[in-house]
Amino acid sequence: MRLFFYLFILVVAVCYTYMAFVDLTFFTNRGRMGPGFFPRILGVAIVLAMLLTILLDIKKGTLFSGAQDSQYQDAAVLIGLSLTFGVLLMVLGYIIAIPAYIGATLFYFNRGKHVTNAAVTVAVPVVIHFLFGGLLNASLPHGLWW
């Protein structure tokens, strides 16, 4: 997992640096700092620092540690549910997305406590509606079809 994360940062940094060199100029026509001045320096520095990190981890033998880590399962489920919640919020709006998300999360992580789960699933959208919609007068996501 560590290796994948390092590679992810490295690839993004390489793309960032490429764009900084191709699309953005280092100096303006008047010889001042151009839009690419900072990005080029930053991009090169991130790429070099990540390469150094990977080399040091290979040397220490820690680069492949944690790859079979079973602890990721619960965190991965919560991440999956949370990203699905984001999509549901955009499509169906908060009235459906919040109870669906809380219900599903509690169903998975708080098994067997049906009364508590049902009470929380119903109460939270109501509190959110009154707190954000009523008290704070904030905008709430209504979805595409409402």
């Binding site: 764009m19 839009p35 990005p39 040091l56 619960d74 919640f85 509690l106 954000f132």
Partner: protein, 506 residues
């Protein structure tokens, strides 16, 4: 005398019914957040930042500051009753706090930690009152070269003081700077890394990134580390104890412990990046070395609890001095506070006290009131916080996530920002897991655009020459200070290694 007049003016601003209500609310919320293991003040402020948008700026900043120092009080409750520090700043409080609770002295321990926190917090605010105007006077002559150096100083000291791998800290800071370059370049009007998206023209907003990295990332990491599985069966049932209040002996023993460690904590807090964790651990060591009975430490010694508590609260006040007078946040929490200031059009720095005295002195005065309120809340609302501690993490987690999502959406009614926040949450979790520093990302995201603008102005003034940094005396002083901070970072890291303790999760 001028300080006294300013303080009175600040009190007149802070003492309005609405401001007091928000102050109390912030203090209570801060305590609750501090009491939840894993959630620190930075997560609390970031999550609740959007909720303050409809408020008056002074009320909002008073409330957020109260959450900041309120969390310092709350973290100790779990340290004493559950042997689980609410945040890294209260690790030292478990050393003697939990043994005291096991001896049937949880009530006196809880009251004494509240008194120590109050003493530390109040001495810290008194020192802010005295020192902040002097700092502001000194830094008033600063120009773009000095601001550029200060921005670099804020980031690099944080990286230098990181307890883990400093290269990963540097990568984190560079990522934050890189995120800060997204959007329109203000001088040339050129779009940078926007991919044609109109939502990115204004740059990546700080709030979704901060909420994601601190709030959501913390949640995912708690599930990874199994916090949602553990119950609270080990909590000490203090209600059955014979005596709730401390004895005179407890107060007598700690009468010098609290003020001397408050001064120590404040001085540590002034160093950007050092923070309350280092302060509390150093205070514990200092108190143990001064004691005639050092063997009692670790077995339920009251001074072993009051020393770190006093120091960590004073350190959180100390960290406000560079924030208010230089505009340089020294920690994740003060970075989020800085973002809040900027959001309301206030730029903390040398001119803040001259240009916005109502705001600066209103905030400082509110901290006196906040500490008094917290003393009362932390003694009389203990049963409420114990009830919160008992709430299982697996139920709290989805609720916190929903509040984060709705709070982020409410800022600009943008679903893109919700996904940026969730993405930052996943990245924040992985960063924490593999030793990167989410705090450095956030600090650099705030300071990056400032640094770029300052460097541009500097090079225009100097006609492209970097010699200007060596020709101005104030720039030279900052560079000398920078070297001193780096050296102190090396010494602090050596101290940490010698004491075999984990550093603050910066």
């Amino acid at each position: 005398m001028e300080i006294f007049d300013n303080l009175l003016m600040g009190l007149s601003i802070a003492i309005t019914p609405m401001n007091l209500l928000y102050l109390l609310l912030g203090a209570a919320i801060g305590m609750m957040i501090g009491a939840i293991p894993g959630f620190g003040p930075s997560a609390g402020i970031a999550i609740l930042l959007p909720v303050t948008f409809s408020m008056d700026p002074i009320s909002a900043v008073m409330m957020l500051a109260a959450i900041y120092y309120g969390a310092m009080y709350g973290g100790t409750i779990t340290a004493i009753l559950l042997n689980t520090p609410g945040d890294s700043t209260t690790v030292a409080s478990t050393f003697d706090g939990f043994p005291l609770a096991k001896q049937g002295r949880a009530g006196p321990a809880l009251v004494m930690q509240a008194c120590a926190s109050f003493t530390g917090g109040t001495i810290g605010v008194i020192l802010i009152t005295l020192l902040a105007p002097m700092f502001a006077m000194v830094t008033r002559s600063f120009g773009p070269p000095e601001f550029f150096l200060l921005c670099l100083l804020g980031i690099l000291t944080l990286v230098a003081l990181m307890s883990g791998n400093w290269i990963l800290g540097l990568v984190s800071a560079l990522i934050g700077f890189a995120l800060g370059t997204v959007g329109v370049d203000l001088e040339t009007g050129h779009q940078r890394f926007t991919f044609g998206s109109s939502e990115l023209i204004g740059g990546i907003h700080f709030i979704p990134v901060a909420i994601g990295l601190f709030g959501i990332g913390e949640l995912f990491h708690a599930f990874y580390s199994g916090a949602h599985k553990s119950g609270t069966g080990g909590i000490v049932q203090y209600q059955n104890e014979e005596r709730f209040w401390p004895t005179r002996k407890d107060f007598r023993e700690s009468k010098f412990t609290m003020p001397r460690n408050a001064i120590l904590g404040f001085c540590i807090g002034l160093i950007p990046g050092a923070g309350a964790t280092i302060a509390s651990l150093m205070a514990y060591s200092l108190e143990k070395s001064l004691s005639n009975t050092p063997k009692k430490f670790g077995q339920g010694e009251m001074r072993g609890l009051t020393a770190p508590e006093s120091a960590n609260n004073a350190a959180s006040s100390g960290a406000m001095v560079p924030l208010l007078t230089l505009g340089i946040p020294g920690s994740a929490s003060t970075a989020v506070l800085l973002a809040a200031f900027i959001m309301w059009g206030l730029r903390p720095g040398p001119l803040l006290m001259a240009e916005n005295p109502e705001f600066a002195w209103g905030l400082i005065s509110s901290m006196y009131l906040g500490n008094m309120a917290l003393l009362v809340i932390s003694i009389f609302a203990i049963p409420l916080f114990v009830y919160i501690i008992k709430a299982p993490y697996r139920i709290l987690a989805p609720l916190v996530l929903v509040v984060c999502v709705m709070g982020t959406f409410s800022v600009n009614a943008s679903v893109i920002e919700v996904f940026i926040m969730l993405g930052a949450g996943v990245i924040g979790f992985l960063m924490k897991r593999f030793g990167f520093s989410p705090a450095a990302v956030v600090l650099a995201l705030v300071l990056g655009p400032m640094a770029e603008e300052s460097l541009r102005q500097t090079l225009i003034i100097s006609r492209g020459s970097f010699d200007i940094f060596f020709l101005r005396s104030s720039s030279l002083y900052i560079m000398v200070f920078f070297v001193a901070v780096i050296l102190s970072g090396i010494l602090l890291n050596a101290y940490r290694k010698k004491a075999n303790i984990q550093g603050a999760p910066l």
